[in-house]
């Protein structure tokens, strides 16, 4: 039994006791401060690099390899119709829990009065959800989903089908580029953090395909606890 402060001091003390005796603590502190304030870029694989069109194609190919599906649409106005048809083709009810994101709120839902859309978090009996997407990574076909008032995390998890509206302009090559976007668009100066900035929302999910498990005889089955299907509506908003 020990108080919290004592436990912390003893753990850190044991670590320091194992470090070299001739260490320069001033230089060490500076090295840590510098790395946190300006994270050095790691090794970016070639598969994360390329022309825009090639990166978008690679994103699609990688996601499809992991059992995600992708539909390319040129016009956002076509999204409600596409969603309605997609649900109908899978015998899913014409109901949708959608993220209250400006891009989704602005869609012409009134064109599809038979499709019931509720904006907000997911409830346990929701069969399908639609969310926006902060960014996507071509390297592995991964979606970057950030939590916030415009994107409740339960929408990514509870429904059996998760539909995602992704703007092609938000596809980047490497994971690091997604963090660049997050730091640039969501980061703000905060001296209370050692890095000097606050970047992360409560939850950032990197999602690569629908939920699955190989725990039974090491054989893959889709649809474990999360969505059984992941469908990306890729809005071609570039050029």
């Amino acid at each position: 039994m020990s108080t919290a402060a004592e436990a912390r001091a003893r753990i850190l003390g044991r670590i320091r006791a194992g470090l070299p005796r001739d260490r320069d603590d001033g230089a060490r502190a500076e090295a840590v401060r510098a790395r946190l304030a300006n994270p050095p870029r790691g090794l970016i694989p070639e598969r994360a690099k390329g022309e825009r069109a090639a990166l978008i194609d690679r994103f699609v190919a990688n996601l499809e390899q992991e059992f995600g599906t992708v539909a390319r649409l040129a016009d956002a106005a076509a999204v409600p119709g596409h969603v309605a048809a997609w649900l109908a083709a899978r015998n899913l009810p014409a109901r949708l829990a959608a993220a209250p994101h400006p891009d989704l709120l602005a869609l012409p839902w009134a064109d599809r009065p038979s499709l019931a859309v509720r904006f907000g978090r997911a409830e346990p009996d929701d069969a399908a959800s639609l969310t926006a997407c902060f960014a996507a990574v071509a390297e592995t076909g991964t979606l970057v989903l950030t939590s916030g008032p415009d994107h409740p995390t339960t929408l990514n998890l509870l429904p059996e089908a998760h539909l995602v509206l992704l703007r092609a302009s938000r596809i980047v090559g490497a994971f690091e580029e997604a963090w660049d976007l997050l730091r640039a668009e969501r980061g703000r100066v905060d001296e209370a953090l050692p890095a000097g900035r606050r970047v992360m929302p409560r939850t950032v999910m990197l999602v690569t395909g629908p939920s699955r498990s190989a725990d039974i005889e090491q054989t893959l089955e889709l649809g474990a606890h999360g969505p059984r299907s992941l469908h990306v509506i890729l809005l071609e908003d570039e050029g």
């Binding site: 039994m1 919290a4 436990a7 912390r8 753990i11 850190l12 044991r14 670590i15 006791a17 194992g18 470090l19 070299p20 060490r28 090295a31 840590v32 790395r35 994270p39 050095p40 870029r41 790691g42 090794l43 694989p45 598969r47 907000g120 978090r121 390297e139 939590s147 916030g148 008032p149 409740p152 339960t154 998890l157 490497a174 994971f175 963090w179 209370a192 953090l193 050692p194 890095a195 970047v199 992360m200 409560r202 939850t203 950032v204 999910m205 990197l206 999602v207 690569t208 939920s211 699955r212 498990s213 725990d215 039974i216 005889e217 090491q218 089955e221 649809g223 474990a224 606890h225 999360g226």
Partner: protein, 473 residues
């Protein structure tokens, strides 16, 4: 968890005779190895990334005190709470206190090896709180009340019949005519049962694959989504993580994530890699109201600066055990504690004592495949040798083994005597065995000849032949 590591020899013999286990081992090993090889081939930068990942962890460990302080500061600045646990007992007490304070009756759990290490489930149950494992593999072994046999595939030792039997026995209300024969039936049944558990839980407990000092985030990597439901739905999210899970930045996390899934399951990325930072924000519609991190030491800080420090680079991908001929023969339970295979053979003596675990560093052929596939380039066989030396210094091996080694050492230190003795032994054995070319039994070598013949020497020692051939073998 009570260690049966001292009984490794008996455990291994039992495992070799277990037909069900041997069937599961034979079926799963090629899959793990093949998938990892394919993922490796798909990333030409894999070797360079191994070097980079090793360097990141070495840098982190050389500054671990400072990064831990920075990490804790970042968590607390964003509304999370950090609890420092020196021992398994401390960690159990901290988790129980959190559960009691919020009046928890059930807790859901994502897969966590730290929870196994501190034997959390037993402690919660003993105090009237029901822990529910939600990873499918962890769930079935919780139903069967047995420990995991693998660090990423905890139920790999089970065959489909075992799953069906466990669900039929334990799922009250499961109609007798509900089909369970197919894997997808089993998955659907588990999903239905566990969905109710997710929604009812008061506290969600997960592990962490990484902690990030820059952002104060904890990261979990899963395929099922169970960890995400665990850390999103309940009012309280508790993260169990050991101190060496730390990396400095999001960039550093990327480098390690490029290696983790490829080394573990052969995926380029697992389905869900999720970063949690603090509790839900005021404007969020979901997420936990409380976020706690229990930072466990439990012997790790004492490894800093020792010949076992490199083990703290381990990211628990399981590539070492998936490629180990010993693990592949006896499975995970034989190792007798939480961490099996080569990484367990090195880590377990550090955490529970070499007196308990001295057999584990000996459970190796030193083929070195574990090191070849380790994404963090941990020198596993070298550290197993260190443990063998430590065990010998502490007089842990039995008298006969020590006497044999002492006799060998006596001769090995005296080259002339060694040559004479081996020439004599080889000559005598060669003469006696010339007719059959082998021995069915030999004094002092029953351990060898009990299972196979001992080939008779041809009459010349290796050194003599080497000298005669002028340095050619």
């Amino acid at each position: 968890m009570l260690a049966t590591s001292p009984a490794f020899t008996e455990n291994a013999a039992r495992a070799l005779a277990d037909a069900g286990l041997q069937k599961a081992l034979a079926a799963t090993r090629p899959r793990f190895q093949g998938k990892r090889a394919k993922a490796y081939a798909g990333l030409p930068e894999f070797e360079a990334l191994r070097d980079a990942a090793r360097d990141i962890k070495n840098h982190t460990l050389a500054h671990l005190d400072l990064y831990l302080e920075a990490y804790a500061q970042a968590v607390e600045a964003q509304g999370g709470q950090v609890h420092w646990a020196e021992t398994a007992e401390d960690a159990r007490r901290i988790v129980l206190e959190i559960c009691r304070r919020v009046g928890a009756r059930t807790v859901t759990k994502g897969k966590s090896m730290i929870a196994e290490e501190i034997a959390l489930n037993d402690h919660l149950e003993a105090n009237g709180i029901t822990p529910v494992e939600t990873d499918l593999g962890e769930y079935i072994i919780q139903l069967r009340r047995e420990p995991p046999s693998h660090i990423i595939a905890p139920a790999f030792h089970l065959n489909r019949e075992d799953w069906i039997a466990a669900f039929r026995e334990k799922h009250a209300g499961l109609p007798a005519d509900r089909p369970l024969a197919e894997r997808r039936d089993l998955l659907a049944e588990a999903r239905t049962v566990l969905r109710g558990r997710f929604l009812a839980a008061d506290v969600g407990i997960t592990g962490a694959n990484l902690l990030i000092a820059e952002t104060g985030s904890s990261v979990i990597v899963t395929n099922e989504g169970n960890g995400d439901l665990t850390q999103t739905l309940p009012r309280v999210h508790v993260v169990l993580a050991s101190i060496e899970k730390l990396v400095p930045t999001l960039e550093d996390a990327c480098t390690i994530l490029r290696l983790l899934a490829r080394s573990a399951t052969g995926q380029d990325m697992s389905v869900y890699t999720t970063f949690s930072t603090g509790p839900r924000r005021a404007e969020d519609a979901d997420g936990p109201a409380e976020y706690h991190v229990v930072l466990l030491d439990n012997g790790r800080s004492a490894m800093i600066g020792t010949e076992f420090q490199d083990m703290l680079r381990c990211i628990r991908c399981a590539a070492c055990m998936n490629h180990c001929p010993v693990y592949g023969s006896v499975g995970g339970h034989a190792y007798g504690w939480v961490y099996p295979g080569p990484m367990g053979a090195v880590l377990t003596p550090s955490l529970i004592g070499v007196d308990q675990a001295r057999h584990l560093p000996n459970a190796s052929t030193f083929c070195g495949r574990c090191e070849t596939v380790c994404p963090m380039k941990i020198p596993l066989t070298k550290m197993m040798r260190h443990w063998r030396e430590r065990a010998f210094e502490r007089h842990l091996p039995p008298r006969a083994e020590r006497a044999g080694l002492a006799a060998w050492a006596f001769f090995a230190r005296r080259p002339a005597l060694y040559r004479l003795a081996t020439r004599l032994a080889v000559g005598v054995l060669g003469a006696f065995g010339r007719r059959k070319g082998r021995f069915a039994a030999l004094p002092l070598a029953g351990g060898w000849t009990g299972g196979r013949d001992f080939p008779a020497p041809e009459g010349e020692t290796f050194q003599a032949r080497y000298a005669r051939r002028g340095g050619q073998v």
